[in-house]
Amino acid sequence: MAIKSHKNGFGFATKSLHWIMALLMLVVFTIGWYMDFLPLGMAKLEWMSRHKSLGVTILSLAILRIVWRLCEPTPRSLSPHKLERVVAKLGHLALYGVMIAMPLSGWMMSSAANFPVSVFGLFTLPNLVAPDKELFETLKTVHWLLSWAIVVLVVGHIGAALKHHFIDRDATLRRMLPGKIEDN
């Protein structure tokens, strides 16, 4: 399978990044909600630690993915409708946006709480903002709103993929699945 995408299909790198990030986002989202319900204790801190480390991993992969996307051709849309193509484009842009904004708001939130982020205990990220209780509350709300924005975007994304697959019966979903690029 080709590493790079071409006009008709996605390459190995983009497919891998897509599915790894999908899995990570699901895991981080689940941890995020779970840890929020835990009482303050060791378990909560352990899950917060994992949530932050995996969130930073998503941020790094998102940057890598955007840079990679700019370096390779983007497969053409299979939709014949202009409106669908525009909505898809906006949806993808928004997904890239939240992939950056979500971890960034979490990182800033940690900084504002004077609770610096350690990544898997390997290194500590610099604080993005000075400790500030009010700013922390604002960022907490932003982080929470973004989590719902992600739900809406991801549901839309999956819904669109399924519509392409089952209603339009085109290769939109299949060409993101693992396999030979020519088969898609």
Partner: protein, 192 residues
């Protein structure tokens, strides 16, 4: 009279040591802490990352002269409830019964037992540090600059929080809240 006292001081020191008295304490200078310019800060680790905090209120009784270390003494009483780590949740945790239990033990105390000069302007204080109901001997290396009637002292000592019972029950586990805590002092004082 003062000149004479200085001259006979070594003789006095020897004789008072034998007699079991200490007049040396009266010879060292008393200092008043400038609260606005003085800080007792600490650095701990949480989830593997360092964070800083400070105790905003403390009282200090300082008697110190570089040329009379035997007669020097420092006692600091730290108001636990004045802790500030710029995080309300964490601050309320710190004073709770699992941590410092400020209701039961509202003050931590630092009381020197001896001083040693290790280089010009650099000293070591051996002191009893009491937090909660635990007293442990610590050695605080510090630098001091004295200009006229103003003194600026700074130093740091690292302790293990669990040695003092800070973090009871599940919190005795040091994987998420690290054991070592570095206490940094920066004291500005004026001669009385």
């Amino acid at each position: 009279m003062f000149q004479m006292t200085r001259k006979i001081l070594p003789v006095l020191a020897i004789s008072t040591t034998i007699a079991g008295f200490s007049v040396a304490a009266q010879a060292a200078d008393q200092w008043v802490v400038d609260a606005n310019d003085s800080e007792i800060e600490f650095t701990g680790t949480q989830l593997g990352a360092e964070f800083e905090g400070e105790f905003k209120n403390f009282d200090a009784n300082i008697v110190f002269s570089p040329d009379d270390l035997a007669g020097s003494s420092v006692e600091v009483l730290i108001d636990i409830a004045s802790v500030d780590t710029e995080n309300g949740d964490r601050d309320s945790q710190i004073v709770s019964s699992d941590w410092f239990d400020a209701n039961q033990w509202p003050k931590a105390t630092f009381k020197t037992k001896s001083f040693k000069e290790i280089a010009p302007g650099k000293y070591e204080a051996v002191a009893d540090l009491t937090i909660r109901d635990v007293t442990r001997e610590v050695t605080l290396p510090f630098d001091i600059e004295i200009e006229g009637n103003e003194a600026d002292a700074s130093g740091a000592v690292t302790i293990n929080r669990t040695d003092f019972g800070i973090g009871q029950g599940q919190w005795a586990d040091t994987s998420q809240v690290g054991d070592p805590v570095t206490i940094e002092i920066d004291i500005e004082a004026t001669r009385k």
